[in-house]
């Protein structure tokens, strides 16, 4: 995280001085992080994610002078991404369902686990790929049967069961240190 901050900040500073190569590198890097970030948070499976990535990159480009050099770069970039996401959801008449307050969440390497200290349910589920998450939500939160949920999302019954099992397993693995005694959540 700190490394990434330093690395991105260095690129940003060079970009502000007009270094096109550094700017290209920075925008590509940000784009690669923004894509899964938006995809996980959009309800339509991320069809709009690419549009949002582009909008955010344009905003970062157009508003680059509003970054205060004394301020963490990632916090600034994350605030812009969040603004674009909220704007998008608002236009669709929806409220964001995931708490969006951690710059670390966007820029952290997603395979690195930071413990389950902030283990509220939506945040945990947000870690899953969109398709798996929706299946879990239907079964575990909305109380649908596995068969119904499978039909909703175009899974076969077996595939749905496997997916749910994998999701629970991977979540348990991620949050194991903080959820002792909850390992047998899924059979």
């Amino acid at each position: 995280m700190t490394d990434r901050e330093a690395q991105l900040k260095a690129l940003m500073l060079r970009g502000l001085d007009g270094d096109a190569a550094a700017w290209r590198l920075l925008l590509s890097d940000l784009g690669a992080h923004l894509r899964p970030f938006f995809r996980r948070r959009l309800f339509n499976g991320g069809e709009d994610a690419e549009d949002l990535v582009q909008e955010t990159l344009i905003a970062i480009h157009a508003k680059r002078a509003t970054w205060d050099r004394a301020q963490p770069f990632t916090a600034w970039a994350f605030a812009i991404a969040r603004h674009k996401l909220i704007d998008h959801l608002r236009r669709q008449g929806r409220r964001p369902t995931h708490p969006l307050d951690e710059a670390a969440e966007l820029f952290a390497d997603h395979t690195v686990e930071d413990g389950a200290t902030r283990a509220d349910l939506t945040r945990i589920l947000a870690l899953l790929p969109a398709r798996q998450r929706r299946l879990i939500e239907d079964v575990r939160l909305k109380g649908l049967t596995v068969a119904e949920a499978a039909a909703n999302h175009g899974y076969t019954l077996t595939a749905a069961k496997v997916s749910i099992h994998r999701s629970m397993k991977s979540l348990n693995a991620r949050f194991a240190p903080a959820s002792e005694g909850a390992e047998d959540e899924d059979g």
């Binding site: 970009g15 502000l16 001085d17 007009g18 270094d19 096109a20 190569a21 700017w23 290209r24 925008l27 590509s28 784009g31 690419e50 990535v53 582009q54 990159l57 344009i58 905003a59 480009h61 157009a62 508003k63 680059r64 002078a65 509003t66 970054w67 205060d68 050099r69 301020q71 963490p72 916090a75 600034w76 994350f78 605030a79 812009i80 603004h83 710059a103």
Partner: protein, 213 residues
Amino acid sequence: MKTDDLIEALAADLPASGARQVERRLLLALVAGGLLVLLGVGLWLGFREDLGSAMMGPTFWIKAAYTGTLGVIGFWLLDRLGRPGSAIRAPLVALALILVAAAGFTAWEFLTMAEAERMPAVMGESARECAPLILILSLIAAPFVFGAARGFAPMRPGAAGAAAGLLTAGLATTLYGLHCPEQTASFVMVWYSLGIGLAAAAGAVIGRVLFRW
């Protein structure tokens, strides 16, 4: 358009951007807007006749300090609101402190006054025209301030508009003090504050439209 192509296009258009570029533009706009307001006060309203002697006493400067500080806090707030990820707590606390201090000073003046003097102290000679004149003078400076402030990237366009309105009105009202001969804290607290508050509210409405990005 593919994202990679977009990045190429953006990188191709990358003029160097100095530190604090938006603020420097805003300061230039304040100078320009301030000069125009000064011109308006001088040519249209006229400077107060006792300006020379008033500038020797403390009251003139206390008034200017109150309105000027509100303008500075407006600048500070706008600068924070306009930068994604910045905290606005400090300027808000400063705003609350200056308002509480001014209200306390006014209450002290008001309560230590003989009862018969109180109403005249609040109403002065120009209670009716004070707030409208402040709004008109603010309107003269507003295009400069709001134009420059569009360079910011506020998450809350309405709040940023209010801050820009506070900044504009703080500037305009301080210059209005060159015309307005009112001397009591009660008058300033009620009518100056009303004019500045209305300007900030108008700024919030304008900001909602103008500060979208």
